[in-house]
């Protein structure tokens, strides 16, 4: 098959899984005839009809909650939240119902469901089409959180999520939706495990750790560094709950210098956990303090949203700091 973008990889994987397993249904706002506002569910309505491709009312609580009720009854819903910023009206359903069902029922009930959401910024969407809310999900026991950055990872991880017996929050960086194309594996059962970081570049001077949308800027920065004769070791975490502590701690223990890159607001973010864990676990291996390059502690702005994002220059400056420390 031809090379596809990330959003096409989503559509293709949904199609393959729906064809494979009748229990898989898609639900959300405009996922039907419209094919989703990003076309992540394009053509599915024509192929599978209104029972399996459900246009929901405009309510994220209805989407996430109903997905849970369908999952409990034997379906495998893949719910779409139109933008990650709009998960909040459904937040109670996600944290109070979905995340806690297995636990509170003593394992009598579980929630095999996926909640997909386009996430992150860089598309001139202002506050409410640009946020990176992953920290809220990672802090919530009972949820798995995945944030791919390539079409192939998107397929491999989405398939794993759809076949998972636990609820998965699947965050798709919208500015990467069409930024690159890849040939997807032919294997109809191609799956990737959670908690395994991808090494995007082998290196020995500094470890760069990122995920999702910020991988784009991180790779730009690492390319620039390589030019300058600096050798970065680049990790793409791919999943945040669980996250690959082993790969991170090994790399940092070996290299001794690390820069964490995420566009989510700096304070109490997922990267705070990574930074804390590194210093708690391999303190003596650190040749310089962990550096975080983050989104700023403001609502996501409309003007200058490119400056808001941690760009290559900010990453390079942080790398300089840890190298010169």
């Amino acid at each position: 098959m031809s090379a596809v973008t990330m959003v096409q990889a989503v559509a293709r994987t949904l199609d393959q899984e729906m064809a494979r397993d009748k229990r898989v249904v898609v639900m959300g706002e405009d996922v039907g005839k419209r094919g989703g506002v990003f076309l992540a569910t394009e053509k599915l309505f024509d192929k599978y009809g209104p029972d399996r491709v459900i246009d929901s009312p405009l309510s994220e609580a209805a989407i996430i909650g109903a997905a849970l009720g369908m999952a409990v009854h034997g379906h495998r819903p893949v719910a779409e939240i139109q933008f990650a910023d709009y998960v909040y009206p459904g937040f109670d359903q996600l944290v109070s119902q979905v995340a806690k069902l297995r636990y509170r029922s003593g394992g009598q009930f579980s929630a095999p469901m996926v909640v997909r959401m386009p996430t992150a910024g860089g598309v001139k969407g202002g506050h409410h089409h640009s946020q990176s809310p992953e920290a809220h999900f990672v802090h919530t026991a009972g949820l798995k959180v995945v944030v791919p950055s390539t079409p192939t990872d998107t397929q491999g991880l989405l398939r794993t999520a759809i076949r998972d017996d636990d609820p998965v929050v699947f965050m798709e960086p919208k500015r990467l939706y069409r930024s690159s194309k890849e040939q997807l594996p032919d294997d109809p059962d191609f799956m990737l495990p959670y908690g395994k970081a991808a090494v995007r570049q082998e290196g020995s001077d500094v470890v760069l750790i990122s995920y999702g949308g910020s991988m784009a800027e991180t790779l730009k920065a690492s390319a620039a560094m390589t030019e300058q004769g600096i050798s970065p070791h680049v990790l793409d975490l791919r999943s945040l709950a669980p996250w690959d502590e082993t790969a991170v701690l090994e790399a940092v223990a070996r290299v001794g210098r690390v820069v964490l890159v995420s566009e989510a607001p700096h304070t109490a973010s997922f990267m705070s956990e990574v930074s804390a864990t590194i210093a708690e676990q391999v303190l003596d291996a650190l040749l310089a303090p962990v550096a975080r390059v983050s989104g700023f502690d403001t609502p996501y702005p409309y003007s200058h949203d490119r400056e808001y994002l941690p760009g290559p220059n900010r990453i390079l400056r942080a790398v300089q700091r840890v190298l010169e420390y």
């Binding site: 909650g65 849970l68 034997g74 109070s96």
Partner: protein, 330 residues
């Protein structure tokens, strides 16, 4: 008689749990006295084990009447291994996968969207199953309630929403809860029929529910049933209802007691008498005593289970946290 017996059983359980609470053996109770006719009427209108139930914390009578073993309810309230949910939640949060009864959660109305999802799933499967979802009058104000009921209306899902309207959400009466005089009229907003029923008359509750459930089963779509009841006790063992309810009001409603009314009905027809009453009481009190004994003998919840059932497989981090607490860390 089955109706009466189930109501009596609920009343006795309510009374006994209250005593256990005052003895400090149960940490919390949500009195259900006054709700029995509604709960028993609903229970007998469903096909237990086939239909799905999304009850709420005050539904002890409903859970018992559809067949959840008393020992499981007691086990849940005492948090022993007799609880199929392994003591994970505070008392009055039952659930049973065996009986398709969704494990309760405390956040009011948060079970409504999931109930709708189950009904949508049932509609797709087309096996003639129905979902019953109960809640109080206060629950109707939550956004999640609206989201769930509206989605059911849009999908024509086979679900019956049942409001046990006791006129209060803790201390807040219906006037301050909503601008509408009744709950059933809210059905109009979702294009579904609404029914207004004396929820302290078990026959009325039963026959209306039977009819409405049958229609949902035929595929007519969802409905909203308002069962007017009253809670005799405080909102919970933590409440002092004298702060907000005049005693005369409570007395007035007690006069309409569903057990008393139905007992008189049965006695008129010679189907019940003092002897039957005494026998039933003795037997049910005995059953409860035995259930408490059995629940306690099932044993306490082991500490390590605190770390289980978060996900199908225990995450590595959590395993480390468990080992640390249990002093197993290497």
């Amino acid at each position: 008689q089955r109706f009466y017996r189930d109501m009596l059983r609920a009343r006795i359980a309510d009374d006994r749990f209250g005593r256990l609470q005052r003895q400090g053996r149960v940490s919390f109770v949500a009195p259900s006295a006054g709700h029995e006719a509604a709960q028993v009427g609903v229970a007998h209108a469903v096909q237990a084990g086939k239909d799905w139930l999304y009850p709420y914390y005050r539904d002890v009578g409903l859970c018992l009447a559809i067949g959840i073993p008393l020992v499981e309810i007691v086990g849940q309230n005492l948090a022993t291994l007799a609880d199929p949910a392994r003591g994970r939640q505070m008392p009055y949060h039952a659930g049973s996968a065996k009986l398709n009864t969704f494990t309760m959660a405390s956040p009011i109305a948060s079970h409504i969207p999931p109930a709708t999802g189950t009904a949508i799933s049932q509609k797709i499967d087309g096996k003639g199953e129905v979902t019953i979802c109960t809640f109080g009058d206060g629950a109707t104000s939550e956004g999640d309630w609206h989201a769930g009921v509206n989605f059911a209306g849009a999908q024509g899902a086979p679900i019956v929403f049942v409001c046990e309207n006791n006129g209060y959400a803790i201390s807040v009466d219906l006037k301050r809860q909503t601008g509408s005089d009744t709950v059933h009229q809210k059905a109009h907003a979702y294009g579904m029929p609404g029914y207004y029923v004396d929820g302290m008359d078990v026959l009325a509750a039963y026959y209306v529910m039977k009819e409405v459930v049958a229609r949902a089963r035929e595929g007519v779509g969802p409905a909203l049933v308002e069962l007017v009841v009253y809670r005799y006790g405080g909102h919970s063992s933590a409440d002092d209802d004298s702060r907000y309810r005049p005693r005369e009001e409570v007395a007035l409603w007690r006069g309409r007691d569903p057990l008393g009314r139905f007992r008189r009905f049965l006695e008129k027809r010679g189907l019940w008498d003092d002897a039957a009453e005494a026998a039933a009481n003795a037997e049910l009190e005995e059953e409860f005593t035995a259930a408490v004994k059995a629940a306690e003998e099932a044993g306490p919840i082991p500490l390590e289970t605190m770390f289980e059932d978060v996900l199908a497989e225990m995450p590595e981090r959590l395993r480390q946290q468990r080992d640390e607490l249990l002093g197993r860390e290497r």
